[in-house]
Symmetry: C2
Subunit: 493 residues, 2 copies
């Protein structure tokens, strides 16, 4: 077991460095003075290099090769499988390609910023083309897969493939449009609007976090421009939010979303340091946890019944009722920009991007084609077209950083969350009564047992299959959306 | 210049890691959730190990040896001198001794905590004896010095020696006692007392920091249990404070003290990364910066004239006058505990410890002797004796962590600060008018030019000599203390 001990010792060191790296990034977005930006860049780059050097050390490959033939129990076999996949991906790209990608991402980001500023696609076109070329090279270098896009998906959602996602997303897009067409023209549910003081927002958010089960003795809530969650080490999971006096419900939804991510991190096992197993099994599964709490729980009427008295106590005489909150949480409208989209339309933004990214990887779309292709995909899938590239093809940062293959995670998260919610509802008959009573512990315990403690022992699709059985996630998601929005808008399927 | 480039690249990496390490420690004392303690310990230990491995790499020794014979300009020669000294100290101790010291410090700290808790010296005696033995071994291993204590001083105050400190501290102790005897029995100056709201304390503290010249765009003020200052990187110097509603003036003094440390860090050059030069030239000089601002500036009547109107604006009708603040800032009384001592008595606490530490290093004092030796030294130097070991021989953490040789820094800081203040007053005739007007920029600029920008190009005694000429620091400190306290207590020399 020398190889096993050497390997886990090395991976423990890398995990420790990852936590330190996460602290650098958390601090950068919360408390870092602005004069520290340049120095922080050097600190982050050094940490990234140290982690990379330690992981791509040829000895790591030798230990893994030796362990591939060793007699190991099932979790250790899983550890070797997961680490071998990561090692292969970290070492299989030619150094020249890695360097070229680094430069292209940097230039891409700067060009994208300039293009957004100017509201013109042109300044982004050449750098984007360079990124497309290099990304196709990268997918090829990752090795044979049924579809070149599969090679990219493995970075974010190992276990997912185009063969499986394409029909699922196509069907989901069509069914979402049926729902949106049914809702269109109907009056929006009455909601709650009005400014709420930020001190009260903070008090209530912390109360909700505590009730949900986000452990603030092993984590924190802070403020940042863009909400995020991060794991700094065992016992140290931090989330951020951003309060607006004018729009507390959106901020609260965001806080619950990040708490979902955070509770996943807090639920990962800590007794296997260096196994590489106790991390999220992909971004889609991570997103399932945030979306489950934000959408399935947080937008439900029982949750509004739990929340309303707390809000009334803080802000009496403001007409806060469970029904008003429920209406406000569930407004639906086709919209141009993904990050502001409601939970129904959101997935159509992803369906459109997935189609475009497949076209890019298949070699059918070049940078110069993308503005028109974007508008065309939006017309067909989302039903709206932006008059300005700023809110069209330039709206997302992802491509400028060479992140192709990430977008499906968001909708995978919604699909997984829907199946988890449907299964939980069947297995925990008191689920909604508990939500209404603010008693979330049984829900979190179920999720811990079915998802969190498994870490990356299996890929996400297998974890979901084990948790939910053979379900139809598109049907689960559509059922959930129809149940809430159909009722609120007074339409039936 | 290959060796120079390789060396500075390596040292830059170590400096970057040091900044990351400082962030880990800052976070631990400010925002870290308590559940993260164990993981944070591992992160800090890993960073310490990485820094040590990188610095003690034999190639560093080879580069330094090569550069010792190279033709270099004066600052590069200084860099090689400073780094060679550090390298020698980092590599000259046998590994077994380093390990034994590590264990003994850990055990010493735990035993000290237990002994404090029990208010009994006995549980600390054996672990302390082990630390004394190992510290003597360590001093011997550092190599030949005129006095074994000199070898320890070099860790904290390179350039200072027992031959120089012993007569200076003896004389200072005697002269301080003359002053304290003169003040004894006289009525204390009238001061200001009363609770002040913490929000106002924060507002005023930030205003004072900005006025003094602590740059909050390249630093921060946060809260922690024990105030401290730390450099996280170029453009990132953080200080902390602790507000008490009941005792704002002490908290403000502490904040100004930390700001003095912080402004020193902010004044260090940033254009020579990897030279190892742009760090403080010892703890005594660092302390001179905090004490200069806290005592020479912060306890002066002109400063009270600057401060009083700001306090009156925040807290009207509380009888806040410059004279009341001046009285409150300058109360003097022999006291048992160093960290609560006034600025006069403080140095006597150091004189007593210095005498004891010399006895330890000369082999004349063993652990079992220390309770009585402590009380005896206190009786002779400080004029008070604690009835309880908790506030006597057990009052400081330093020895429990093997820190012998650190205490002189505190009084060196007061001595350097007094000479700097006296010289500044002669060179900047408007100095006190500027303080009264809240116009501290010329003072900070003078300090920057004379002290900060020099970094570690020379040892502290040489930097002070260059800044102040040949002065008598004991006379400077005594003049400053007599001028304020003599006048307030109505006694003349």
């Amino acid at each position: 077991m020398d190889a096993w001990n050497a390997l886990t010792e090395r991976i423990t060191e890398i995990e420790t460095l990852s936590g330190v790296h996460a602290l650098l990034e958390w601090d950068q977005q919360t408390y870092m003075p602005r004069g520290a930006a340049e120095g922080r860049g050097r600190q982050s780059a050094l940490l990234a290099r140290l982690r990379h050097e330690r992981f791509t050390d040829p000895r790591v490959g030798e230990w893994l090769a030796e362990l591939a033939h060793a007699e190991l129990d099932a979790p250790r076999r899983a550890a070797v499988r997961v680490l071998t996949r990561q090692y292969r991906r970290a070492t299989c790209l030619p150094a020249a390609l890695v360097e070229a990608l680094g430069h292209a991402r940097n230039e891409g980001y700067n060009a994208w910023m300039a293009a957004r500023e100017a509201d013109r696609f042109a300044p982004f076109e050449a750098p984007l083309q360079r990124l497309l070329d290099l990304t196709r090279e990268q997918a090829a270098a990752y090795g044979s897969a049924a579809h070149p896009y599969d090679a990219l998906l493995e970075d974010y959602d190992p276990g997912s493939t185009v063969a499986e996602l394409r029909p699922m997303f196509t069907r989901l897009g069509a069914e979402l449009n049926v729902l949106l067409d049914a809702l269109a023209g109907r009056p929006h549910p009455r909601g709650f609007a009005g400014a709420l003081d930020v001190d009260g927002q903070r008090t209530l958010s912390e109360r909700v976090l505590d009730d949900l089960g986000f452990d603030r003795s092993r984590g924190r809530l802070d403020l940042s421009e863009h909400p995020f969650s991060t794991g700094i080490g065992p016992g140290d999971t931090r989330i951020t939010t951003h309060f607006h006096a004018e729009n507390f419900l959106a901020a609260l939804g965001g806080t619950i979303h990040e708490a979902g991510h955070g509770m996943y991190e807090q639920g990962l096992r800590t007794d296997r340091p260096g196994w590489g197993l106790d991390v999220a099994a992909g971004m889609g599964l991570h997103e399932s946890q945030s979306r489950f709490w934000e959408n399935i729980i947080g937008r439900s009427l029982p949750f509004c019944r739990y929340l309303a008295p707390h809000m009334q106590a803080l802000w009496p005489d403001r007409g806060i009722t469970p029904e008003a909150l429920y209406g406000a949480f569930n407004r639906v409208e086709r919209s141009l920009v993904r990050i502001f989209a409601d939970e129904v339309t959101y997935n159509l933004h992803v369906v459109a991007r997935f189609e475009l990214e497949l076209g890019i990887l298949e070699g059918n779309l070049q940078a110069r084609d993308l503005p028109d292709a974007w508008d065309d995909a939006y017309r067909r899938h989302v039903g709206v077209v932006s008059p300005r590239p700023h809110d069209g093809v330039l709206q997302d940062v992802h491509w400028s950083g060479g992140m192709f293959g990430y977008f499906p995670s968001y909708t995978l998260g919604n699909l997984y969350a829907a199946s988890l919610g449907a299964t939980m509802q069947a297995e925990l008959p008191d689920m909604w009564r508990n939500v209404e009573a603010g008693h979330f512990a049984p829900i979190l315990a179920w999720m811990r047992a079915k998802v969190h403690v498994r870490g990356s022992e299996a890929d996400a699709p297998e974890i979901i299959r084990d948790a939910c059985g053979m379900r139809d996630p598109v049907a689960d998601l559509m059922d959930s959306l129809w149940a809430r929005h159909g009722a609120l808008y007074g339409v039936t399927r």
